[in-house]
Symmetry: C2
Subunit: 382 residues, 2 copies
């Protein structure tokens, strides 16, 4: 058997699927534990989904190099790194953040394999068989860290296919160049919708943001439920400077009609927005887990998880990243879900009988969240 | 004795001097401990020194409402509050931050006494006598939390009195209105100097920033040694947009000569900047502690402290705030010095024989930094 063939039927202890923030972060914990039989499988490059952000888009959580005083950089995926320090900015672009992840990979010398597309994950004996574009991998444990940005929710209503999902926009500037002097309709008014509106208004276009809830009106202590301060402040400042943004709440879009190059965005109560510019969908992402859907139970669209973020029906398969949820609380930001990397790693290390003392540091540094009762906003209004 | 007279000779367990970020923060810990015989003495209003910032100036550390996931808001002074949530912005003005502090005072119902100017602090028996503008207070312990913004370093070289210290500027816009079309010279190129230059350039003025070290050229993991990402990024963007800012490093200003309304800022090696606009001093603050200087030993301008931030020569007198330093590391930002509030409170509670279990929560929430060995930047370059 040549080494090429050997690679094609290789056996691992842990396969991490996708080298994004979650895959790199959980991979770094396994490196700290001294695991050698594991790999991070990535179809494209490290941080590929960040690289695909519209070029004007920025991380909404601020980075700050405060590690040495017990305050982790909110966007760090390891205990010892800081995107603020690496990139010297608070709100990096997706491309810059991918650079940071690449830096972490190099610093921790993580076993990344790029160009490996995982096509299926099947149970086999006490583990899993992964069919990939470069061969078959057998792995005792699988950590699914594919994020959600791979599956845009771009068919939420009839006619949505005539629109463009914001995650498919390379740059708002290029998109705006294609637009004519007519309003641009953005469907969805949470982070990405407001971000699109701000970028387009900044480029001189009139924008209608249509949303059922109108999250821009609300405040609350959890930034996954209301606009982040970054977005909220930019919106407020734009409106104070008479940016041509109209915020339309209480309207659920029911369909988009197209006739002779004119788009008619039809909402509840007969609301209608007519424009000759292609509507933008800022409708978020599918809640499913793609090819591993069958390995999870779902409840209200959320994968059910054990206390160690494992599948409840497919032992040995773990979830890492923004789709982790417990007690109705979504761990959808880096500073939230990174606290579960060590929980997953701890469980796997236990089963592999690997020394786990190195994880004490994760506890000390607030990167090992076991007690889930605390995951509820508990702040006063100041 | 009338109650008015009684107040004039009152006795306290703890007197906290000045209701700024440190005074309010350490006061909240004493409230949590259930202390009733203490007061926070403040000459003006809560957060007065923040209120005096130039109106364009912003906090350089970003606020974010991440409390419920184990990441304290960097600018919070208590475990349960977040300026980001209270103010809905990342980088508040000084005035907004003072509002936040006022909110904390109200929420925790802290015993603030405004309009009380502490004129002297003298040892007396086992405690201290404080002479104040409203009477005499005897206190067993004193926590000096006066910050450093009260003592601008505005006489660093001959002729400096012809300049204006940036901390005395109410707004850069009003200052700029008084300027003529001639460059503005800013002496000092750290945070406040660059902030002044950015604000003045934004208002259309040509600015020379003169500094010996030129901190804008350096990077490092500790934002107290290099420009913060907030300032660094704004400077970079301004220069990319051809803002009229000239950065002159390697020049130590030796004096300012004034003749017929013309200011000549003279530096090392014959460097000279001549302008008809009043130079701006961004030369920071005095390192002394004002009226309690005599109660501390000083070493290279830093007050020496016990492991509990007490004076080494005047037992019972503690320091809280940006002038706390250990191992050559300055606790000069809120996210740094707030971790010492509970250390001071713990020591006082021990001596008063007060139950301290409530302080466990401070340990859990990274607001109780005892092990000072960790206060060294320990990050990799990513």
């Amino acid at each position: 058997m040549t080494s090429e063939e050997a690679r094609k039927h290789e056996s691992l202890n842990v396969a991490i699927v996708v080298a994004g923030a979650a895959g790199v972060g959980v991979g770094a914990v396994l490196a700290d534990l001294g695991l050698d039989s594991y790999a991070i499988l990535e179809r494209d490059d490290v941080g590929a989904s960040f690289q695909q952000w519209p070029e004007e888009m920025r991380l909404i959580t601020p980075s700050f190099p405060s590690n040495s005083f017990g305050c982790r950089d909110l966007n760090a995926v390891t205990t010892d790194t800081s995107p603020a320090f690496a990139l010297d900015r608070e709100h990096s672009t997706g491309g810059e953040y991918a650079e940071y992840l690449q830096g972490v990979v190099e610093f921790h010398d993580l076993p990344i394999r790029t160009g490996v597309d995982v096509e299926s994950v099947q149970r086999h004996d006490d583990g899993f068989i992964l069919h990939t574009s470069t061969g078959v991998i057998q792995s005792r444990f699988v950590i699914w860290a594919a994020g959600q940005f791979e599956q845009p929710n771009d068919d939420p209503f009839p006619g949505a296919n005539h629109s463009l999902h914001n995650s498919r926009v390379e740059s708002w500037s290029a998109f705006a160049d294609e637009c004519i002097e007519d309003p641009i309709v953005v469907v969805g008014g949470y982070e990405s919708g407001i971000d699109a509106a701000l970028a387009l208004a900044d480029l001189g276009h009139e924008v209608f943001v249509v949303d059922e809830d109108g999250s821009w009106q609300f405040r609350g202590p959890d930034p996954s439920e209301v606009l982040s301060p970054y977005t909220s402040q930019r919106l407020r400042e734009a409106l104070e400077h008479d940016a041509p943004i109209a915020l339309e709440d209480g309207i659920r879009v029911e369909r988009v009609d197209v006739e002779e190059g004119t788009f008619d965005v039809i909402g509840t109560d007969g609301a209608s927005f007519t424009t000759r510019n292609q509507p933008v969908l800022a409708t978020g992402f599918e809640s499913g887990l793609g090819i591993v859907d069958e390995h999870f139970e779902f409840e209200s669209g959320q994968p059910r998880l054990t206390d160690q973020d494992g599948s409840t029906i497919s032992p040995g398969l773990f979830l890492a990243g923004p789709q982790v949820a417990h007690n109705g609380q979504q761990f959808c930001s880096i500073y939230k879900f990174r606290q579960r990397f060590a929980v997953v790693a701890d469980e796997i290390a236990t089963r592999l009988d690997v020394d786990r003392t190195v994880l004490d540091e994760y506890r000390e540094k607030n990167m090992f969240l076991e007690d889930l009762s605390c995951c509820e906003p508990d702040m006063c209004d100041c």
